[in-house]
């Protein structure tokens, strides 16, 4: 009986690995496609909507705004409502404005918080998922399609349980990013109205006020 069972299961030993290999193959091929698309993008603008569900907020907070990006090192993240705020990274320097307060210039070399934020943002917006594979376990879900990332680093895992990125099936641009935190807090950022590879006004990356 036992021998029969082994004989019955034997073919599975040869079948199961090709299934995993196929998954890995699909993931690699998908990542390759996303990266190839991302490599063609030199500039990008889009609108964004962010929903923050935090325990310290009385209710979910929705922010809306725009993002502008010029590779390799210029990025503007702007919220227009409910509180206007702008965060600009331009090389090693940056600028942040919030509400009516005075613009604050910062230098990534001397501001560890902004250095970390910049590093995180660039990791995501550069679309270098091959690099991210070293830090995150990735699973490709067909719906969307979307990628689910969970960190290998326990320190990051303590702050972020998972990141789910949904892509537009034709342009392969990320449309939604859901960041889940361990305590139940989560954030959903949606991107839309992409304009790719159009020349950008450089004042977007030097001034808080919109051009």
């Amino acid at each position: 009986m036992r021998r029969k069972l082994i004989l019955m299961l034997l073919p599975l030993l040869f079948i199961v690995p090709p299934v995993f290999a196929e998954d890995n193959g699909r993931l690699s091929s998908f990542i390759h496609e996303v990266e190839a698309k991302a490599a063609t993008v030199k500039t990008l603008t889009c609108t964004l909507k962010q929903e923050r569900h935090l325990a310290i907020f009385a209710r979910p907070v929705i922010f809306q705004g725009r993002m502008a990006l010029e590779k390799p090192d210029k990025l503007r993240w702007e919220f227009t409502s409910p509180i206007a705020s702008v965060l600009i990274f331009n090389g090693a320097k940056g600028l942040k404005c919030s509400g009516n307060s005075e613009p604050q210039r910062f230098n990534l070399a001397t501001d560890p918080v902004m250095q970390m934020v910049s590093k995180q943002i660039w990791t995501w917006v550069n679309g270098s998922y091959t690099t991210l594979q070293k830090q995150y376990r990735m699973v490709l879900l067909e719906q969307g399609p979307c990628l689910v990332l969970t960190s290998n680093d326990p320190k990051i895992a303590r702050a972020i349980s998972s990141v789910k990125i949904s892509f537009n099936s034709t342009s392969l641009q990320p449309t939604t990013v859901r960041i889940q935190e361990p305590g139940g807090d989560h954030t959903v950022i949606s991107f839309s109205d992409f304009i790719l590879n159009q020349p950008l006004n450089q004042s977007l990356f030097t001034r808080c006020s919109s051009p």
């Binding site: 962010q50 923050r52 935090l54 325990a55 310290i56 907020f57 009385a58 209710r59 907070v61 922010f63 390799p72 090192d73 993240w77 919220f79 509180i83 705020s85 965060l87 090693a92 942040k96 919030s98 509400g99 307060s101 230098n107 990534l108 070399a109 001397t110 501001d111 560890p112 918080v113 902004m114 250095q115 970390m116 934020v117 995180q120 943002i121 702050a159 972020i160 960041i179 935190e181 807090d185 954030t187």
Partner: protein, 795 residues
């Protein structure tokens, strides 16, 4: 001469030399540039700098080759990080280096903020409390919480959620500002813990050598280890520039070696050809060599007085023995050419030999009182050596001298004293010009004038300053204490005083590691500050937060922290924390590395503050030493002014003493003014011409001029003495010939040094050339003219 007696004399001489060699064989030679410095305040300063590890620090600036224009920014950064990581780790494993700083540990910023947060009340000063107070108005709190709300909803919000709950008022920004005090005018930016330049094309490593970098042998070893690390660690396309004392020490040592390799054979060959052509007798060459047989005994005697002898003093002291060659030449020529019996000739020459030896020894006795240790060693060596060398010459030269077959009476002539008035006028003009030039000369205490700065060193240093800063000179303010607490308290006083005088660009640990006194004061101020405000602020933050969309109690971690008892920051937290290498580079605990050779006061703790050293800041810095106990200020401008003052003092003291001694000796020997003036005439000419020459060159006098000047005085007074003595016995052509032989040999021996690349050797050669160049014709043409009326009166 009895052959047995000659052999006996040579036997004694060789035995002495052999004994000297044996006794001197274990001498410990040091090649430390510090031996050239006056050993009072300035030397102490440099020892303090050495103890702080500042002199022995090697800076390595890794750069992407300018030709690598096609490499991407990320590629450049990665290449530099890999190179810095590999080179740094190789250096860190090498026992030749102690502190090696090339990368701060990952996440150091957060760890540091976490460590310091609980001690914030002990760190914030009154000025910070005033800033916090301005935030505690309704508008201020509203703005702070609105910013928090916006920040939480910005990309930075995710990692900052707990931080904002803990610190809604952004007090940690005050900490970050304080951390910038470790940077000063240093313009590095930190990427992944590596120190990058602003343009991202350079990466910095610095290491403290465990061996003294002012010592040329040690410097060669350190250089070899650095090169090995660079070869092992640098990736393709990356090059390195090395900055600090290391390239200077190496350039000096290598240039001196190169010069001596090139010039010593040339000088020796010139001398040998010259002597051979004149005397056409190989034994004459032995005459020149005899005085140097005294060298081993002189070195052995030197060893009795000094445990460690400067190689510079030893080398130069042996050169000074060459002065005794003059006596040997005079004895040889007198014996071979003067009429009369051997005993009569020796009797005739005895007086000038004794006189010249006495003046030479007198000059070196004066040098024994120099502030510079290597000068004193040199003087000790020269006194013993010259005395012995003259004794050997007196004993051995007669065994070599062969009288000329025919000595005509024509050898005995009256000196040429034609055109006496014209000669005296010209000499008077030379002295007048010298006297006019003398006050215009400037004692340049800057040791860099004797430093060999190659174009590469100059270019590397300029590039380093442009890349990393600071743009100008820096002053080091060292606060010392018997305990760490005392040193930290004094360091706080220094920082406060500099801040009070609005001196910016300071690098200090005081803002992040105050002493216990200031910490206790800060905590007391903090408690008083929050006691009155805490409850109100809590209610107001809760009210405004709720209005903005926060839940009630969202910032409870902040108020829990505020209610806790503030804790004093133990220095060990920072010393062993993520910024340990940076902190330790500014804080030296006693005998940390067990290297007592670099520790002049091993039980003390030293803390450095670095400030810009400019004409504006210097008056404030200068006062710190008087205002605060246990504080020493070290700066280039201070060294320059101190060395200048010390050198000026030394020059005046030694010159006056040497001058008086020589005049007294002359007076004692000749007892009349005219012979004294005649004997001193070559000295006056030499001094005048040296003054005019330096005035025409750059109007500077440095340490080397003084040293060589004293030697030139010693040699030129001998010319005068021999001529005066010869004149008193009726002038002999042989004396003129001997003086000329001595002068030409000295000029050819030292003159070749004018071809040296090293500024110190070049100065040596030029000074001798100018001084002896003036003394020689004066002895031949002016001394007899001065003696003429005197001689006439006597006869």
């Amino acid at each position: 001469m009895n052959t047995n007696s000659a052999w006996l004399k040579w036997g004694i001489a060789f035995f002495l030399a052999a004994f000297g060699l044996f006794a001197a064989s274990g001498i410990y030679l040091g090649e430390d540039a510090l031996d050239l410095l006056p050993d009072t305040a300035v030397r102490g300063d440099i020892q303090l700098l050495q103890r702080m590890g500042l002199v022995n620090r090697v800076f390595i600036s890794l750069e992407i080759d300018p030709s690598q224009t096609t490499v991407s920014r990320n590629g450049i950064e990665q290449a530099l990080k890999t190179s810095a990581g590999q080179v740094g780790s190789v250096l860190a494993e090498n026992p030749v280096f102690r502190e090696v700083l090339y990368q701060l540990p990952p996440g150091y910023e957060w760890r540091l903020l976490d460590q310091l947060w609980s001690h914030l009340p002990a760190l914030l000063a009154e000025e910070d409390l005033r800033r916090i107070q301005s935030q505690l108005t309704t508008d201020g709190l509203n703005q702070a919480l609105t910013e928090d709300f916006a920040l939480l909803n910005s990309p930075a919000g995710l990692p900052l959620k707990e931080q904002i709950r803990r610190d809604p008022l952004g007090l940690s920004r005050l900490l970050i500002k304080r951390l910038s005090s470790l940077r000063g005018e240093f313009t590095a930016q930190i990427r992944d813990g590596f120190f990058f330049s602003q343009d991202g094309r350079s990466c910095l490593i610095w290491a403290e050598s465990a061996l003294p970098l002012t010592d040329s042998k040690a410097a060669e070893q350190v250089q070899s280890e650095v090169q090995k690390a660079l070869q092992q660690g640098m990736v393709h396309g990356v090059s390195a520039r090395i900055i600090g004392a290391l390239p200077h020490t190496l350039a000096n040592a290598r240039t001196v070696q190169k010069d001596l390799r090139k010039l010593l054979p040339l000088a020796t060959l010139t001398l040998f050809i010259f002597f051979f052509l004149i005397f056409r007798d190989p034994r004459a060459l032995l005459v020149v060599g005899i005085p140097f047989m005294a060298a081993p005994v002189a070195i052995a005697v030197l060893r009795l007085f000094y445990d460690r002898v400067s190689a510079i003093a030893l080398g130069f002291g042996i050169v000074l023995l060459g002065i005794a060659v003059d006596s040997a030449i005079h004895i040889y020529l007198a014996l071979s050419r003067n009429p009369g019996g051997k005993d009569a000739v020796l009797k005739g020459i005895k007086r000038p030999v004794i006189l010249s030896t006495a003046t030479t020894l007198g000059v070196f006795v004066v040098l024994l009182f120099s502030e510079v240790p290597s000068h004193r060693q040199m003087a000790t060596l020269a006194i013993t050596g010259v005395f012995l060398a003259v004794l050997l010459a007196w004993m051995l030269v007669p065994t070599l001298a062969i009288r000329k077959p025919q000595i005509s009476k024509v050898e005995h002539i009256t000196p040429g004293i034609r055109h006496s008035t014209l000669k005296l006028i010209l000499w008077g003009l030379l002295l007048a010009a010298g006297a006019l030039a003398w006050p215009g000369l400037h004692y340049n205490g800057n040791l860099q004038t004797l430093d060999m700065v190659t174009p590469k060193i100059k270019a590397d240093e300029a590039h380093f300053r442009a890349t990393w800063g600071p743009a100008g000179d820096e002053a080091f303010i060292l606060a010392s204490g018997k305990t760490l607490s005392q040193a930290l308290d004094r360091n706080d006083q220094v920082y406060e005083e500099l801040q009070r005088n609005s001196i910016s660009g300071l690098r200090s640990i005081s803002p992040i590691l105050p002493g216990p006194f200031l910490q206790a004061q800060n905590i007391s101020n903090w408690n008083v500050f929050w006691e009155k405000r805490r409850v109100c602020v809590e209610k107001e933050i809760d009210r405004i937060g709720t209005e903005l969309g926060f839940v009630s109690g969202a910032f409870s971690p902040f108020f829990e922290w505020l209610s806790a008892k503030p804790v004093i920051l133990d220095p060990s937290v920072l010393i062993s924390g993520p910024l340990s290498p940076l902190i330790c580079s500014m804080l030296r605990l006693p005998d940390k590395h067990g290297k007592k050779n670099q520790d002049n006061n091993g039980h003390e703790i030293l803390i450095t503050t670095i400030a810009p050293d400019t004409p504006d800041t210097w008056p404030v810095l200068k006062k710190l030493e008087e205002q605060i106990r246990g504080v020493a200020v070290l700066s280039n401008s201070k060294w320059r002014s101190n060395i200048e003052a010390l050198v000026r003092h030394d020059v005046t003291r030694l010159s006056v003493a040497a001058g008086l001694l020589i005049v007294c000796l002359m007076w004692f020997f000749f007892q009349r003014p005219m012979p004294v003036l005649a004997a001193l005439a070559p000295v006056l000419s030499a001094l005048s011409f040296m003054a005019i020459f330096n005035y025409l060159c750059n109007k500077d006098i440095n340490l080397m001029h003084i040293l060589i000047g004293i030697m030139v005085i010693g040699i030129s007074v001998d010319y005068g003495i021999f001529v005066v003595c010869a004149f008193q016995r009726a002038i002999s052509k042989t004396t003129f010939f001997a003086v000329s032989m001595c002068a030409v040999s000295t000029l050819s021996g030292f003159g070749v040094l004018t071809l040296a690349e090293h500024p110190a050797l070049h100065t040596l050669g030029a000074t001798v050339l100018v001084g002896i160049g003036a003394a020689w014709p004066t002895a031949l043409w002016i001394t007899p003219v001065i003696l003429k009326p005197y001689n006439g009166n006597e006869t």
